[in-house]
Amino acid sequence: MVRDRRAARDGRRAREFEAFVAGAGGRLLHAAALLTGEPTGDTEAAERLLTAALARTYARWDRLRGEDPYDHTRRTLAALFAHRGHRYRHPRGGTLARLTPQERLVLVLRLYEGVAEEQTAAALGLPAERVRAICTRAVTAMRSAAPRRGATGTPPSAGTPPSAGTSPSAGTPSSTGRPAATGAAGTGAAAGTGSGAEAGAGVAP
């Protein structure tokens, strides 16, 4: 009797978890690859980071109590990355390769995931002003690295570092990549607005 119920719960959890990863995994892996500073084709460290975060989400699945699993995974991912930040000091390429691990983390949380400034600050254990300053600095660094669009018509490969050369190719397929990205974001954001307050409250103390 108890065994049957446990087996049913395990099966349900496995099915729900698989559906969740199938829906949100791509977006989460992209965020992880931005954090670890890896090019799109070779995301080994990002996969390891994401697997660790997803395993914790799986272990907590029955006790999430209405919290969005996407929120939980993202928070765990950020915490794991902050904990192991020193391992990713030397990024191997990718869009954010020229930033420090902390700048990457703040930029991904604030701009890519759209987490509010206060929640980012609470998750990282920093004052909100500090988060804003890091974000501004990272944005400035990114813009100075990127080739000016339509400035003088020079090809982006002329005299720009290889890390900047990836950004035009990252910019063009956004029209094709956009629907999938917003679709995945929709599930996260829709539930995220509901549980955002309590997620933040959970981190705050």
């Binding site: 496995a14 978890f17 698989e18 990863v21 199938a22 995994g25 791509g26 977006r27 892996l29 992209h30 690859a33 931005l34 799109t40 084709g41 995301t43 990002a46 996969e47 994401l50 697997t51 660790a52 997803l54 395993a55 914790r56 989400t57 799986y58 272990a59 699945w61 869009t95 954010l96 930029l107 991904v108 701009l111 890519y112 501004t136 990272a138 944005v139 400035t140 990114m142 813009r143 990127a146 990836t166 950004s167 190719s169 990252a170 910019g171 397929p173 956004s174 990549g177 956009r178 999938a180 990205a181």
Partner: protein
Amino acid sequence: MSFPDRKETEVRRMLEGPHPALPPDLAGRAAERGRRMLRRHQVVRTVGWLLLLAAVVAFAVWAAIVEPWTAPPPTDTTPPLEGW
């Protein structure tokens, strides 16, 4: 609307690059690891309860044998001083 907003939008567009392909076995690996974590937590919890139970049983047995509540009450006067 303002200047920083436009900058942030620009960087946001940079971040939305092509998504890396999700390895098909990533969900399975994560689930397997999560299952192991759950099992480990369960083992730790079970061992903890067993230890607590053992401690309670040991205390009950000791108390039943020694019966510390039957000891004579302490005297409240000092013994008489003799041979001084």
